[in-house]
């Protein structure tokens, strides 16, 4: 208990007393005193004042006492750096002690003393311990390298500890291997490019051998490390999978999850028709289900991970619906997660059972759970068409219960059902209208108003109903106000005679009495539409709405891929990438599944253009969007645009804007280089170099391979893939349009949003013949750069709208900056020299290109094809330095220095620029720094 004598230390008097005891001659008394000190320390009390006295007790041969003193040192050395030096000698001595326990203890404690001054004294003892004969000491020393790296990374590199650590991977003791792997993985995280964990088939083999023999935690370290390896071919990944699968029957669920991660990742490499692929799928299900019988906390973690797995590979658990049924004594967090997975697994085959369960859940006690269950019923209706009828009747039953929050939730989902199956279940409207008065949540009110507006022609007293809402118009939330405005306009268009007064009332309320700009804008638009062209108004407001998608709440695919790579870690529980919750540069590497189509295509998700819910969607009143995934909000930059217009010259303002924003962000460029941009470097520039590798091939500008910009799913069957190229000084957008719909597509047109470099189509889209189903057409669209300018994020983002006879579709893509390098980008030598010198040193930015096996001349030739001109070349100490210049279409000059060392495949690039700019260079981010 807390009144234990060891815990009762509080006041200064006692500190004094302890001091006396610590300095006592009697060993027993000393020991007791140290224990008391540690007791206070572990409960979080401050006993740092006793530092010198405790350190004096360090010289002892009593192991127990030594352990306690070391524990004290770990906690307080940092607050007393000068005193800590006193301890160094003892550490050095203890590292030579005949007892391996003491050696290990010393080396463990040493690493925890986070005092810069004394780290260098510790290198020698650490070096010895890394080569100690006792594996226990070696494994402790391996972790100590990671600790030291955390304090002083440079020192660890200089002292060559990293190499020693790498050697430990081949150690005979599995535990040492595991700890070395853990330490290296952690160090590698802060050096994404360092290639520390050089995983090759040999090391993989060693790791797999150690996997069978080390402790459970060691197995986790090794499995996590394996997950970062990319096998060369499917055979290798199969053999790794075969050796990892036995881990699925481990009792430790963390081991199981790590093994699942490795398997999920390597499965991507396996061809689907392989027998082994099917076997593996079958093997994955039972362990995942078993995780659900563990402790509730673990169940939660398992469920969050299963949620990801089910989205990626629904076939694994499709027959296991029953295990996700909620149990009476599950904690609420387990219940909610189970419910989520149940909906994902719902299919025609099991829908009856699922619905029966959901109906039970809707009568539970926990409000959140009940709400989610009601919502789930609606989602089932949308997902499984055959069940829609039963779902609707279940929802109606629930509405009859008159439980307030159940009714509201049901109305919200019924609105979605109406959207999915228009004109099918209107008979229930009457029941819904009965509950009008009990709705007090904005979402439910808005949903109800939407329904009334949408089906105004079938509700006799629609005008009365809406009028009743109008009374308290100003007290409603914006959502409801917007809904009400639209619903009344719809009503007016449907029954113009009776409701003229009402529509005038709402328009004046929205435009004159409201200070919400959204509401006012929408009000004005309707007003003008109605007053100028009622027919057009009808076409706009009562237009047919796009159907809502079946699957809802799906995680965006690129994020899902990343999260799959993080199974079993915090990221998989939060369903967020590590960069979202880890501070600093650590751990922000983006992991990708091997061999997947999305790998390395685009940094930003392509779906930044609002699919629904904005602009057009707003007018069509679709802002009550179903729970679909929405991308980041579109750049709404009214302010910026205004500023730009005032300044007149698009470029000037762009520069000014960049100055102000980038100045803060990149104050210390080389140091602040984010890890995220160094990672993809190896990809893109290499492409640039590798291109035209064939002999005698004409040097042309680099053009990335075509990628899918607009998937058919999002555009009613129209798929657009494309790329950009610069041919003979003209920027071209090369697209393949594929019709995957059932009907013929005609009347194509294209338009760009404002963008950073003023790209605009130089002519109309040349699709002359109608595009019949399953037909593809190649289109080349010449571009010019005289269009309106607006800064985009990222800079090379281009938002495109394509229209055909069916609809207008939006997508965004990113063009390679190299496309904008103009042919007269060769700077005069003198000018180059002067400009280069003018650039302050601290504005330089540096990065490395990996594994490029070209000599400097070949590189220079190749780059020239992309209008990157070599101005001068210098050779210093076997290093070729190429000085290069390029000019962008808007007249900005970029200067670069490329260092090539013969035999070393890594290039160093130093970039400078006449302006602050953040460019995306074929997928490579380069920070280009100004010459002031």
């Amino acid at each position: 208990m807390m009144n234990d004598s060891l815990f009762s230390l509080v006041c200064a008097g006692e500190i004094f007393e302890l001091k006396a005891e610590l300095n006592s001659d009697k060993k027993e008394k000393k020991k007791e005193a140290v224990k008391k000190v540690i007791a206070s320390m572990t409960v979080g009390k401050d006993v740092s004042a006793l530092f010198p006295d405790v350190v004096n007790c360090m010289q002892t041969d009593n192991l127990e006492l030594k352990k306690l003193v070391y524990l004290y040192l770990m906690n307080y050395a940092k607050s007393q750096p000068d005193m800590a030096i006193m301890a160094v000698n003892t550490f050095v001595k203890d590292c030579e002690d005949p007892n391996p326990l003491i050696r290990a203890l010393a080396v463990r404690t040493m690493g925890c003393i986070r005092v810069d001054k004394i780290t260098e004294y510790l290198c020698e003892p650490l070096r010895k311990c890394l080569k100690d004969e006792d594996p226990y000491v070696r494994k402790t020393a391996a972790v100590c390298v990671a600790k030291l790296h955390d304090i002083n990374a440079q020192l660890v590199e200089d002292q060559g500890f990293l190499d020693t650590l790498k050697d430990l991977i081949s150690d005979s003791n599995p535990m040492v291997v595991a700890n070395a792997v853990a330490a290296l993985s952690e160090i590698a995280e802060s050096h994404p490019n360092s290639n520390l964990l050089d995983l090759n088939p040999q090391t993989i083999n060693k790791l797999l051998t150690a996997l069978n023999e080390c402790t459970e935690w060691g197995q986790i370290f090794i499995l996590d490390c394996l997950a970062n390896y990319t096998p060369r071919d499917d055979r290798e990944s199969q053999s790794i999978c075969e050796r990892v699968t036995p881990r699925l029957s481990h009792a430790n669920s963390a081991v199981v999850l790590s093994a699942v991660k490795v398997l999920m990742k390597f499965m991507e490499m396996l061809p689907k028709d392989l027998d082994y692929y099917g076997t593996l799928l079958k093997k994955l299900a039972p362990p995942l289900v078993t995780l659900l019988s563990a402790e509730p906390e673990l169940q939660y973690v398992a469920l969050r991970n299963i949620n990801l797995i089910v989205q990626r590979r629904p076939e694994i658990l499709k027959h296991e619906m029953k295990v996700f049924f909620v149990k009476y004594n599950d904690p609420i967090y387990v219940k909610l997660e189970k419910l989520d997975i149940m909906i994902r697994l719902a299919s025609q085959a099991n829908i009856a059972q699922v619905l029966a369960e959901l109906k039970e859940y809707a009568t539970e006690v926990d409000v959140d759970f009940v709400r989610k269950a009601v919502r789930a019923i609606g989602r089932c209706a949308i997902k499984v068409e055959q069940s829609a009828e039963r779902c609707v009747s279940t929802l109606l039953d629930l509405i009859q219960t008159k439980v307030n929050y159940v009714v509201q939730e049901a109305i919200v989902v019924i609105k979605d059902i109406f959207r999915k199956y228009p004109n099918k279940y209107e008979s229930v409207i009457a029941t819904l209208c009965e509950n009008l008065d009990s709705l007090d949540e904005p979402e439910a009110r808005a949903a109800m108003i939407w329904i009334v507006g949408e089906y105004a022609e079938r509700i006799d007293n629609a005008d009365e109903l809406l009028e009743s809402f109008l009374e308290g118009f100003h007290d409603e939330s914006t959502q409801v106000q917007l809904q009400l405005l639209t619903a009344i306009v719809k009503l007016f268009l449907k029954k113009p005679t009776e409701t003229q007064e009402l529509v005038q009332q709402v328009l004046s309320l929205a435009t004159q009495d409201s200070d919400n700009p959204d509401l006012r804008d929408r009000g004005y638009i309707y007003w003008r539409l109605l007053s100028t062209d009622p027919v057009a108004a009808k076409e706009v407001v009562l237009a047919e709405k796009p159907l809502i998608s079946e699957e809802t709440d799906l995680i965006e695919p690129t994020l899902l891929e990343e999260l799959i790579c993080h199974i079993g870690t915090l990221a998989s529980v939060y369903h967020k990438p590590p960069s979202a919750f880890v501070e600093g540069s650590r751990g922000v590497q983006h992991k990708r599944l091997p061999g997947s189509s999305a790998a390395g295509v685009s940094e930003a998700p392509p779906a930044v253009i609002p699919s629904q819910g904005d602009l057009l969607g707003d007018l069509l009143n679709l802002d009550l969007t179903p729970p679909t995934t929405t991308g980041p909000p579109p750049p709404s930059s009214g302010m910026q645009m205004g500023a730009m217009d005032l300044l007149g010259g698009g470029l000037d303002s762009l520069v000014g804007y960049l100055h102000s924003t980038m100045g803060a962000g990149f104050g210390a460029p080389p140091a602040a280089m984010p890890a995220s941009f160094t990672a993809p470097v190896s990809g893109g520039l290499d492409d640039l170099f590798d291109l035209g590798g064939g002999v005698g091939m004409p040097m042309g500008a680099y053009s990335p391979p075509k990628t899918v910009w607009l998937p058919a799913m999002k555009a009613k069957g129209l798929e657009i893939s494309g790329t950009f190229a610069r041919r003979a000084g003209v920027i071209q957008m090369e697209m393949t349009l594929t019709n995957k719909a059932m009907s013929v597509m005609t009347d194509f047109a294209i338009q760009f949003n404002r963008n950073s470099f003023g790209l605009a189509p130089a002519g109309p889209l040349q699709v002359l013949t109608p595009l019949s189903p399953n037909q593809s057409i190649e289109v080349t669209l010449p571009l010019n750069t005289v269009g309106p300018v607006m800064k985009m994020e990222p800079l090379n983002n281009l938002q495109v709208a394509v229209k055909n006879n069916i609809d207008v579709f939006y997508f965004s893509c990113q063009y390679p900056i190299s496309m904008l390098f103009v042919e007269d980008g060769k700077m005069e030598r003198q000018v180059f020299l002067a400009t280069w010198k003018d650039i302050p040193n601290d504005n330089e930015s540096q990065f490395q290109i990996k594994d490029c096996h070209l000599n400097s001349d070949a590189a220079s030739n190749k780059l020239q094809g992309s209008n990157i001109f070599t101005i001068a070349k210098r050779t210093v100490e076997g290093q070729d330095m190429l000085y290069q210049s390029m000019k962008l279409t808007n007249g900005i000059w970029v200067l670069a220095e490329l260092r090539v060392q013969a035999g070393n495949p890594n290039y160093t690039v130093i970039c400078t620029c006449v302006l602050y700019m953040y460019l995306q260079f074929n997928n490579i981010n380069i920070i280009i720094i100004p010459a002031a």
């Binding site: 807390m2 060891l6 540690i38 409960v43 979080g44 009593n62 192991l63 127990e64 352990k67 306690l68 524990l71 007892n99 326990l101 290990a104 463990r108 986070r114 006792d134 594996p135 226990y136 972790v143 600790k147 003791n173 535990m175 040492v176 700890n179 069978n212 402790t215 459970e216 935690w217 699968t245 036995p246 881990r247 481990h250 009792a251 669920s253 963390a254 199981v256 999850l257 790590s258 039972p286 362990p287 289900v289 078993t290 402790e295 673990l298 939660y300 973690v301 909620v326 149990k327 009476y328 059972q353 369960e357 039970e360 009568t363 993080h566 079993g568 870690t569 915090l570 939060y574 919750f581």
Partner: protein
């Protein structure tokens, strides 16, 4: 990796705080207390992010354990549980007194180093704490391949005890239809063997067993009386060689000394319930409740169920209970809010019944009684040893823990039932010391 480890008592007072990494500030200890322990609402997630620090937390008998981190780490719940196990093994139970700093401060240093979980073998850690500076083989033991067993163990009598504990979960619809059943079993071993014994444990899953029941099988009709049972999945203690299990389906291991859980298994197919429990609940007005529970045994003649205990939950506002039971003893326990009905033994095809009249205090609480599920425990002694050459003596205890869950609120309980699996366990005395070959052919 883990940046800090905090242990609190139920009041939120810190028992242990260890910070392994610099990124966890000292205020993290308080942040957790304020946001989780002292938060008024229910725990909505065992993983929470407070001010950019993620906390994994679990509560074990009044003790809060929390691991804090700022990085993307692997799940560490297992290590928290292990820590509890170690404490329980060392002190006999987990309570506040366990966390006096004498031993555990050193202990936590051995479990986690720089936030990396290191060692969680109970036996080895015990040696760590107790040994006093003597140069021992502990270092080679904990880093070696067999970290869970020390060398040189000697017993005069070599003994091995095996318990099979099963719990049956049953989910029933309000209409009485069985939605899902599953059996999760644990094989718990107590080994007192000398040297480094190599043990083998056979499992005859997918075996086809001849049904013994002859009478009362008419409903099976023309169906064959053979039946196969498959295990859905099993997990093993760290000591079992998993790769060998994967390739040969044989469980081979060098056991730790003392008690441990060798394996867990799970099965869902073809479960015949040994008992049927039929509850009837009738609400008579607002202050009275009538409950009637019937249990019927439904297993074959050679078996006998013993120490049957039925746990019938009652509403919170119960003021008094009147009980009439045909067999056994029943008692209302106010502290557990339940009626405990104990029957010493029950043979095949027997039926027994209890009826209770529960008086309720009138409340104005609108929340209706959620009707928690009924649960039932019993033991079955059953043994079949196929290996007669080794002198096995035949005592065995099989404990069946049966819990039933239900999704439904109109009934008081669902069927509580055991499974059709027959488990046999046996304590084994063997004369061979170091290579004891144990064949346990259980009809899993």
């Amino acid at each position: 990796m883990i940046g800090g480890l905090f242990i609190y008592n139920h009041k939120g007072e810190v028992l242990i705080s260890r910070v392994y990494r610099d990124d966890i500030g000292r205020n993290a200890v308080d942040a957790f207390r304020v946001n989780i322990i002292h938060a008024r609402q229910q725990v909505r997630s065992p993983v929470t992010n407070i001010a950019h620090t993620s906390f994994f937390h679990a509560k074990r008998s009044n003790i809060w354990l929390a691991a804090a981190t700022k990085q993307n780490v692997i799940m560490v719940f297992e290590s928290l549980y292990k820590m509890c196990d170690v404490m329980a093994a060392y002190f006999g139970k987990i309570s506040e007194d366990c966390w006096t700093p004498k031993e555990n401060t050193v202990l936590t240093g051995n479990i986690l180093d720089f936030g990396y979980p290191q060692n969680s073998e109970t036996g080895a850690l015990k040696t760590f704490i107790t040994q006093q500076g003597v140069k021992s083989q502990i270092t080679s033991q904990v880093t070696g391949q067999i970290g869970w067993r020390r060398e040189g163990i000697k017993y005069r009598r070599n003994e091995l005890f095996l318990d099979v504990l099963e719990s049956v979960n049953l989910l029933m619809s309000p209409q009485g239809q069985v939605l899902s059943t599953n059996v999760s079993g644990r094989v718990v071993m107590k080994s007192y063997l000398s040297g480094m014994p190599e043990c083998k444990f056979g499992m005859n899953d997918k075996i086809v067993i001849e049904k013994q029941g002859k009478g009362g099988r008419s409903e099976d009709g023309g169906k064959s009386s053979k039946q196969s049972i498959a295990i859905d999945d099993c997990t093993f203690h760290h000591c079992v060689r998993l790769s060998k299990f994967d390739s040969e389906r044989s469980i081979s291991f060098i056991p730790p000394d003392g008690e441990y859980e060798l394996m867990r298994y799970r099965t869902t197919k073809d479960i015949i319930l040994p008992f049927r429990v039929i509850p009837l609940v009738r609400e008579v007005g607002r202050t009275k409740l009538e409950v009637k529970v019937v249990i019927k045994s439904n297993f074959k003649s050679s078996l006998l169920a013993q120490k049957i205990e039925v746990h019938i939950p009652t509403p919170l506002n119960t003021s008094g209970v009147q009980l009439i039971c045909m067999k056994g003893k029943a008692k209302y326990k106010a502290s557990e809010n339940a009626i405990i009905w104990k029957i010493k033994r029950m043979a095949e095809m027997e039926e027994s019944q209890i009826s209770a009249e529960i008086k309720l205090l009138p409340t104005n609480d609108k929340k209706k009684w959620t009707r928690p599920p009924l649960s039932m425990n019993f033991e079955v002694r059953y043994l079949k040893v196929f290996e007669s050459k080794l002198n096995y003596s035949d005592h065995d205890v099989i404990k069946w823990f049966v819990t039933s869950d239900e999704v439904e609120s109109t009934r008081c309980a669902a069927d509580a039932a055991g499974a059709d699996e027959k488990k046999e366990g046996c304590p084994v005395t063997s004369s061979s010391s170091s290579s004891l070959l144990l064949f346990l052919l259980s009809a899993l």
